[in-house]
């Protein structure tokens, strides 16, 4: 059974997604346990795969028994097993959390909600595990379509934000498809390993050049890289809280994974560094994204919207690490993918908990939140510390590596941008903490008693445990970051990179 793990991790949630509508029509309450069970399977599988990869290097799985390049291949290596573990852990935790939040936000649509949620996770897992460029597109569309549906159901401006997302997302996916088509035109294959073998002879071709640009732009849109990020803040703000907690940590990160895969595995790193100066462009765009995202985040008065802009800024960090194209920078980017998954997961879960209790996420209602929800808010504090980069949390280490990478690249502007962006993070997160820890300033005559006692009003346990798990994830991935680095990440970095 061990060699079947790569397919089981995709098929288990997929089959469950088909069962949910049938079961749910009969009894709605069975959807939640089924979804949790279905997402526990990928968790086990991905951990098994990571173990297998760490023991014996990469391996591949041939779907339908057809060997590549004729059949579709699942190629497992350090890079995608690392990302797979992140996806499966975060999606599992968020699904546990979903129970109460879905019941309060979408009481009559529980069945299709869980179907789409499972399909989305399936799409993300399938995209990551696949070693076939076209298969990636198919799973990309599965995850995008379910994501459109899940986001559009949200409140207020959600449908309109989703419409923009659909337009942008379709352009992105189509550009990806076009890039793959161009590569197919000159090589005749769709398999990533085969492409990597055939492409280096063709770097002079204008077709390959165009293909590279289209792939970059397409994935850039999916990743919400500045200036292609316009769809993201609206979509993530209005989505139901479970959905934004699932999408924000995972979706853009999987796109970032795809970018690393295309840039450094399908193409040789030299192509995007020398033939098209894409890495330089990428790192400059990333630097702008970090500043712009953070500045916009400061201007927001809604926690979820603020966090959405923060996603744009954090994508900048990852893109900077990729764009630096050196050992330290890429390590920083990969660590940041891990860090972001837990941190954004944690803060969006907390935002969901606040919406659950206060029915809104406006910052002006946040007074006394530390006393009302002490456990939730302590997790939020850990999340903010990680976002800012305070030592024991994982955010510190990823930022440290990015900083060292910028120094190694000799680019002091990036160092400055990283520091300024950290300062901006401090500004917008401490504003939230400050608002949440104090009472609403009231004139003295309005007070009945000098210090009102605020009753503790915590969220139910099924929401509390996932929040705490995420916070623990932040701390653990920070404490063990050097071990993660030496056991997994060093094997991902392409050999040709300088420190």
């Amino acid at each position: 059974m061990a060699q079947q793990l790569p397919i089981l991790l995709v098929v288990a949630p997929l089959m469950a997604a088909f069962l949910v509508p049938i079961v749910g029509w009969w009894n709605k309450r069975l959807c939640y346990p089924l979804a949790v069970a279905a997402l526990a399977a990928p968790l086990v599988c991905t951990l098994g795969i990571l173990k297998q990869v760490m023991a014996g290097g990469g391996f591949s799985y041939h779907l339908g028994g057809w060997s590549p390049p004729w059949g579709i291949e699942y190629a497992l290596d350090y890079l995608n097993s690392f990302v797979l573990v992140i996806i499966s852990i975060v999606s599992f935790i968020v699904t546990i959390y979903s129970k109460e939040s879905v019941r309060s936000e979408l009481p009559d649509k529980i069945t299709p909600f869980y179907t789409l949620l499972l399909l989305m996770v399936t799409g993300l897992l399938g995209m990551t595990v696949s070693g076939d460029a076209f298969n990636v597109f198919v799973f990309l569309e599965i995850s995008s379509l379910s994501c459109y549906g899940l986001i559009a159901i949200g409140s207020d401006g959600a449908p309109f934000a989703t419409f923009r997302y659909i337009i942008m997302g379709t352009i992105g996916a189509s550009f990806y498809l076009l890039g793959v088509g161009y590569l197919y035109l000159v090589t005749g294959t769709l398999n990533m390993a085969d492409l990597a073998r055939l492409l280096p002879q063709l770097y002079a071709s204008r077709v390959v050049l165009t293909a590279g640009i289209f792939l970059l732009v397409g994935i850039g849109i999916k990743m919400a890289l500045f200036p292609l990020h316009a769809w993201l803040p609206g979509a993530y703000t209005y989505a139901p809280s479970t959905v934004s907690a699932m999408v924000a940590p995972l979706y853009t990160k999987v796109a970032a994974y795809l970018l690393i895969r295309i840039m450094f595995t399908v193409f040789q790193p030299a192509f995007f560094i020398e033939v098209i100066p894409a890495t330089t462009l990428l790192s400059w765009l990333a630097a702008i994204a970090m500043l712009v995202g953070s500045i916009y985040a400061i201007a927001q008065s809604d926690l979820k919207r603020m966090l959405s802009y923060s996603v744009v800024a954090q994508i900048g960090y990852i893109a900077l690490g990729i764009g630096l194209a050196n050992r330290l920078g890429l390590s920083g980017a990969l660590l940041h993918i891990l860090n972001e998954a837990f941190t954004k997961g944690c803060v969006f879960l907390v935002a969901g908990a606040i919406v659950f209790k206060l029915k809104s996420c406006r910052l002006e209602n946040f007074n006394n939140l530390y006393r009302k929800m002490p456990f939730t808010m302590s997790a939020f504090t850990i999340g903010t510390f990680s976002m800012i980069g305070i030592p024991p949390t994982s955010g510190f280490f990823s930022k440290l590596y990015l900083l060292l990478g910028s120094v190694a690249a000799g680019n002091w502007i990036f160092v400055a941008v990283l520091l300024v962006s950290t300062l901006l993070n401090v500004v917008y997160f401490f504003r939230v903490i400050q608002l949440a820890s104090f009472e609403k300033p009231m004139p003295d005559y309005a007070r009945i008693t000098p210090y009102e006692t605020v009753a503790m009003d915590e969220v139910p346990l099924s929401m509390q445990i996932p929040i705490q798990l995420m916070a623990a994830g932040i701390l653990l991935s920070g404490i063990f970051s050097s071990r993660i680095l030496s056991a997994v990440i060093v094997h991902i970095i392409p050999k040709s990179f300088t420190p």
């Binding site: 339908g64 579709i72 399909l119 599965i142 559009a152 161009y182 204008r206």
Partner: protein
């Protein structure tokens, strides 16, 4: 916004133009696309699967996993439309129209009004109902069974001629949509209720994934239909052919149900009451 749009369109066009100048000539048999992977399919399909239609064989066998993904995409779309549009609360329409069949008199009942007693003589009609559609109704009623028969032929004959589960499924769905268009949504819902549609939709794609999982359980890789030979007997080549057929049926079911379901939800904006 307009300027940015125009600039990006021109940039994209320029880039495409730049790329095309280096393309191999159109229809060149020696181009890499025609010489690297695809000759294998052309030469071995018949021996491997005994399916003469190479596209069907590649679609459902060599790259069968893509097709599973494709079927899932259409399933996702159907579920997403249902999720977004469907009202589960029963909404009372503002006005209802009833037609007394023997006399042809139309009753208009405003919100909260008392409805006529359930009887054969009264027929609920839409607000956009027009009386002169007997030709359309009769023609469509005559045509629909033949369309459905043709669709079944397309599914079943996909091994030997253009067609297959997807095309057949769309035609089956289109037949039902034609019925709904020529009558009204309520009569279509009587023929095929939403619940049946949902179950068909999920079952079809479940058949697909289940065929793959069956191969997995009998010890071979996912979607390796030759494993079906060890389960049901027969030689691996015939098993592949039958596996492809099973999968095509699954695809057909899902696509049919998904198309009808999306149509139901879109045409009535989720109310399933007064629709086109």
């Amino acid at each position: 916004m307009k300027l940015i749009g125009l600039i990006s369109v021109i940039l994209c066009g320029g880039l495409l133009f730049f790329g095309v100048t280096d393309f191999p000539g159109w229809g060149d048999p020696a181009s890499p696309a025609s010489t690297h992977v695809s000759p294998y399919y052309i030469q071995n399909t018949l021996a491997d699967t005994s399916v003469p239609n190479i596209v069907t064989a590649v679609l459902a066998d060599y790259r069968g996993y893509d097709t599973l993904g494709e079927t899932t995409v259409i399933f996702t779309a159907a579920i997403a439309c249902f999720f977004l549009l469907r009202f589960t609360r029963r909404l009372e329409p503002k006005e209802r129209f009833y037609r007394h069949v023997p006399t042809g008199i139309t009753l208009r009942i405003s919100h909260g009004g008392k409805l006529p007693v359930e009887s054969e003589a009264f027929e609920r009609i839409d607000s956009l109902w027009s009386p002169h559609d007997v030709i359309i109704k009769t023609t469509c009623r005559l045509v629909v069974p033949f369309i459905q028969l043709f669709a079944l032929y397309v599914i079943a004959h996909g091994h030997y001629s253009p067609g297959g589960g997807f095309q057949g499924g769309v035609i089956l769905g289109a037949a039902m949509i034609l019925y709904a268009l020529s009558y009204d949504l309520r009569s279509a819902l009587l023929r095929m209720s939403e619940k049946i549609g949902a179950i068909f939709c999920a079952t079809g794609v479940f058949i697909y994934a289940g065929t793959g999982a069956l191969c997995l359980l009998s010890g071979l890789n996912f979607l390796d239909y030759s494993a079906l030979a060890t389960v049901f007997g027969g030689d691996p080549v015939a098993a592949r052919s039958h596996g492809i057929f099973a999968v095509e049926i699954g695809v057909g079911m899902t696509v049919m149900a998904a198309m009808i379901w999306i149509y139901y939800n879109l045409s009535s904006a989720g109310k399933h009451d007064e629709g086109l």
